[in-house]
């Protein structure tokens, strides 16, 4: 498996996205210490990357955390309701920006699909988890993963 997308690069991207768009402070996204708790209501946002390399950037967390992320982005009060529309748009946009930056790590120009949000990201045929970052956002569990499908290697050519 080629190391097209490195752990530290994904961490940098995630931290920059949260620092710039959500928290104003890079310190609020940290590596998660220990095992991840099970999510009460798991939810994922993802965006597909296609080109020479096919993959998917997937963000996964608990719905209550995703709601809080949407509140932070949409400037809603702590008790304000987050509609499904709000959640899909906000959480999806974070995945979009993370995915867009992952795409830019690739050696050749790729294209980005539309962000999607659902309880679980569907199977992507042939994909393996290239990177999985278990993170703590404001102390709460948040996973940023990159799945990848290697393009079939050309004869005698390994990148």
């Amino acid at each position: 498996m080629s190391a097209v997308v490195e752990h530290d690069q994904v961490l940098t991207i995630a931290r920059e996205v949260f620092a710039a768009m959500v928290d104003g402070d890079p310190g609020l996204l940290q590596p998660w210490d220990g095992d991840l708790p099970a999510f009460d209501q798991s939810i994922s946002a993802w965006v597909d990357v296609s080109g020479d390399w096919h993959g998917r950037a997937v963000l996964t967390t608990d719905k209550s955390i995703a709601d809080d992320l949407a509140r932070a982005l949409l400037d809603l009060g702590a008790d304000e309701e987050v509609t499904d529309l709000d959640l899909v748009d906000a959480f999806g946009e974070v995945a979009n920006v993370v995915g867009g930056n992952v795409k830019s790590l690739l050696p050749t120009q790729g294209s980005l699909g539309l962000p999607q949000v659902a309880p679980v990201a569907p199977v992507l045929a042939g994909a393996v988890v290239v990177q999985e970052l278990r993170l703590a956002w404001r102390g709460r569990p948040f996973v940023v993963a990159v799945w990848g499908i290697e393009k079939a290697a050309e004869e005698g050519n390994r990148s």
């Binding site: 996205v17 768009m21 400037d75 999806g92 867009g100 930056n101 830019s104 120009q109």
Partner: protein, 127 residues
Amino acid sequence: MRALVIDDSRTMRRIVAGTLHDLGFETVQAEDGRAALDVLESGIDVELCCIDWNMPVMDGLEFVGRVRTNPAWRHITLMMITTESEQGQIVRALAAGAHEYLIKPFTADAVRGKLDLLGLVPVKETA
């Protein structure tokens, strides 16, 4: 001064419009390039457009090209705000006529900095 914020994400439109408000702009929003052209064609006067690249119906690159070929819109400053950050993409955007380019994720300060470069900050800086 008025800015047109063009992005298919409501969240992103809110963030950009919020930053521009803090800098003293009035804002109008559009969810794709076609809707944005409708705004301009309706006669609303706009000094600045902040444009996402990847949008349905009409993408940001095409919008830029359309604006730059219309003499009535010569005075409008065009800044792309997008996740597209490959060198080639930035070159394409500048070649199509974009005046500036901001990569997502961006901070409010980065927006201010770009507008400074363009001579477009109407509000004096305060600490």
